[in-house]
């Protein structure tokens, strides 16, 4: 199951994945290095989290070349945006209900 009983998405349990989604939610596209800088994580770590989100179809990527250097741009998918919004709403609901 992708969603737990309280409406939170399992995929967003990791802080890094939540961070990736937050950054992509407010940017049309971001390249690997920008994401790395915002999150302050290692290449390998970021790559594995990006893979996981890609597998869920929450994010997608576009490969191109800048000169000869490959440049990968990541962006949030429609499903990803929906899931992220739902997750946010669930978080707010949980905080409210616990007060």
């Amino acid at each position: 199951m992708k969603v737990s009983i309280d409406g939170l998405y399992k995929a967003f349990e990791s802080r890094i994945r939540l961070g990736i989604m937050s950054a992509l939610a407010v940017n049309d596209t971001l390249d690997f290095n920008s994401l790395k800088e915002f999150l302050g994580v290692t290449d390998g770590n970021l790559a594995s989290h990006l893979k996981a989100l890609e597998k869920e179809a929450f994010i997608s990527l576009e490969k191109s070349f800048v000169g000869r250097k490959p440049n990968t741009k990541y962006f949030i998918t429609k499903e990803g945006k929906k899931a992220f919004d739902n997750h946010l709403r669930a978080l707010e609901q949980l905080i409210k209900s616990q007060k």
Partner: protein, 208 residues
């Protein structure tokens, strides 16, 4: 209890990441204050020492204007003020970015600069056109106008207050363009006084 704290922290982190990844917040208030001081000193020197005093000639004379003898002095002075102001802004922002554990040249600062560049370069080229046509009286109001447009555009990518500053600069530019005799005064207010007020405001609101 522990869980609740976690949720609140999640939300706080989401909000902070959205802000950090979309807005450049390493603009320094002190740089604004310094730029304002340079501008006022510059206007003072141009006015008192070089007797630079643009008047109403742009609209009234039918023959092309001419360059005053002191024009090279005023031009080099203006250029020095500009370079000093930009240099100070880069220096202070670099320090602030370092303190915030960010790089100065990152996607947000890039976006900020690209969005400012189009109005600024347009204004810069126009300034040279005005110089070549000896329409010196219009330079001060036009630089205000294009600077204001650049700031208004930039406001989406940094502190929202920059937008307000942009609108006021545009207003001053329009006043200066109508009453050409007040051009230098408007310029001193726009680039001098406003930068100082804005810098102090940013400093107390965001840098404490």
């Amino acid at each position: 209890m522990e869980k609740e704290k976690d949720y609140i922290r999640d939300i706080a982190e989401i909000r902070s990441m959205m802000e950090r990844s979309s807005k450049f917040l390493s603009l320094s208030g002190w740089a604004g204050v310094m730029a304002g001081i340079y501008a006022i000193i510059g206007v003072y020197i141009a006015h008192k020492l070089f007797h630079f005093n643009p008047g109403e000639t742009a609209y009234t004379s039918t023959t092309p204007g001419s360059w005053p003898d002191n024009f090279t002095n005023v031009f080099s002075l203006a250029l020095s003020v500009l370079i000093l102001a930009i240099g100070t802004a880069i220096f202070f922002s670099y320090n602030k970015a370092n303190k915030r554990n960010e790089k100065l040249w990152n996607p947000t600062s890039r976006r900020l600069l690209v969005n400012m560049a189009i109005p600024l370069v347009t204004g810069g080229v126009l300034t040279f056109i005005l110089i070549s046509k000896a329409l010196l009286d219009l330079i001060a109001p036009f630089t205000l106008l294009f600077y204001g447009l650049a700031l208004y555009n930039a406001g989406k990518f940094t502190y929202g207050e920059v937008r307000v500053l942009g609108l006021i600069e545009i207003g001053l530019g329009l006043i200066g363009a109508y009453f050409t005799g007040t051009g230098l005064l408007c310029w001193a207010i726009g680039f001098g006084v406003l930068h100082i007020i804005y810098g102090i405001y940013i400093h107390y609101k965001y840098e404490q």
